[in-house]
Symmetry: C2
Subunit: 226 residues, 2 copies
C-alpha cells in the first residue's frame, strides 16, 4: 500500500493573512500607501488626522474609519472634504474590538483607491487585538497619550512592538500631570528597540509637522504619488 | 411515524455564562461581593483602587488583577498589603483583551475568599470585549477619563450600558482641557438612562469618598460583612 505524501501547507488556516495580502496587492496596483492607525480609546487619533489629512504636500488622502458603532469620527473627517468610508464592527461583524483584513476587504469597493495616494485606516480604539491583525497595511502608526501613564508599553507590548512610529500625544498637558516622558520613551525602547517616536500635541499642533513629513515620506518611499 | 419533540435548550452553548454562575455561587457561599472594574487603558483604575482598598470601613478587600502581561498593577496594590492575585491573559489564554468567567475561575483557588468581603476584579484595559463577558460579578463599575473625550459612551455603548456605576476620573485636568462634562453626562444618560455617575480625581482624591461609600453599600447590600 502506497503512502500518500502529505504536503504541509503552513499558515493554511490563517485566512486573515491571506486576505491581508490580497488587500495589499490591491493597494499596490493602485499605488496606494496604506497606514494602519491605532491607539487606546480617546488618545487623539481623529484630532491628529484632522490636523494632518488636508495639509499633506501633494498627497491625496482617503480614510477608512473603523468603529464599533456610529460615524462620529467619519463625519468629522468628511467635513474636511476628505473621502471617508465608515466600517462598523457591530454591523455584521459581531461588535469586534478590532479591524481585520476581511472587514477592510469588504470596504474596498466603497473606497476611491484610484484617487488616493495615502489610505489611513483608523482602527478601533484598543491596545490589544488590533495589533494581532494585519489588514494589508504598508506601515503601522500608533498614538499613545501622556495621560495614559508611562507603563503602557510594558502592559501592551505587542502593539508597541509591531509599530513603525509611536506618536506621544497630548504633550500640552505635561505641566499638569505627574508624568515622566523619559520613562515612557525608555519603556517604548525596551519593548521595541529603535522604533521612531515623536512628541506631539493634536490640540496645539506642536510637533504635528513632523508627523506630516513622516506620512509624506512614507508615500514617497512607496513611489505612490501620481 | 412519530415526531420526536425536540427540546430547545437556550443558551446551551454559552459556556461563559455557565461558568460565571458557578463563580457567583462560590462568591455567595463565602459572602464575597464581587465587582468587575473596567475602563480603557490608562483611565486610572489602579490609582483609584490605591485610594480606596485600604480605606473601606469594616470591609476586607481582595483584588484579582487582569493584564495581558506583567504584574505592575498587582505589585502596586500588594505594596498596600492587600491580597492580590495576578491573572495574565497572555499566559495560557492567547493574549486575550478581556477577562472571561473561565479565566477568573482558574484564579479562584489562589484567592483567599474566606478572608475577603469585597473582591475587585480589575479587568484588562479595553472598552469593548470586557463588557461582553460576565465573570460572576455582583456589580460592574467603569472608569471613564475626561481626557478621552465626551463621545465615548456613543462609541462604546455596551460598556456604558452594562455598568452599575460610571466614575468620571481625572477631573483635576478639566481646567486644561476642551471638555464639556455636561455633554459627557448627557451621552452616558443617552445610552444608559438613570445609571449612577460620580466625578472623581484619583490624583487629588476629590470625590473618591463617594466611591468608597458606594463600595461599602454594595457590600452591605449583599449582607457580606462577617
Amino acid at each position: 500500500m502506497h503512502r500518500t505524501k502529505v504536503r504541509v501547507v503552513e499558515d493554511a488556516l490563517d485566512a486573515n493573512n491571506t486576505i491581508a495580502r490580497a488587500n495589499r496587492d490591491d493597494f499596490d496596483r493602485d499605488s496606494v500607501t496604506a497606514v494602519n492607525f491605532m491607539s487606546a480609546p480617546g488618545a487623539g487619533k481623529t484630532t491628529l488626522l484632522e490636523r494632518t489629512v488636508t495639509a499633506l504636500d501633494g498627497v491625496r488622502v482617503g480614510v477608512l474609519e473603523g468603529d464599533v458603532e456610529g460615524s462620529m469620527d467619519a463625519d468629522r473627517l468628511a467635513s474636511l472634504h476628505v473621502p471617508v468610508t465608515q466600517l462598523n464592527t457591530a454591523a455584521g461583524f459581531g461588535g469586534e474590538c478590532h479591524l481585520d483584513a476581511n472587514m477592510v476587504r469588504s470596504a474596498l469597493p466603497e473606497l476611491p483607491l484610484d484617487d488616493v495616494d495615502l489610505l489611513v485606516i483608523e482602527n478601533v480604539g484598543n491596545l490589544v487585538c488590533p495589533a494581532e491583525f494585519r489588514v494589508g497595511e504598508d506601515a503601522r502608526v500608533m498614538v499613545c497619550s501622556v495621560t495614559e501613564g508611562e507603563d503602557k508599553p510594558l502592559k501592551y507590548p505587542l502593539m508597541f512592538r509591531t509599530c513603525d512610529l509611536v506618536l506621544v500625544n497630548k504633550i500640552d498637558l505635561l505641566p499638569h500631570l505627574d508624568f515622566d516622558v523619559e520613562k515612557l520613551l525608555a519603556n517604548i525602547e525596551a519593548v521595541h528597540p529603535g522604533v521612531e517616536t515623536m512628541l506631539v500635541s493634536a490640540r496645539t499642533g506642536e510637533g504635528v509637522d513632523g508627523f506630516r513629513g513622516w506620512l509624506e515620506n512614507a508615500v514617497a518611499r512607496s513611489g505612490a504619488p501620481v
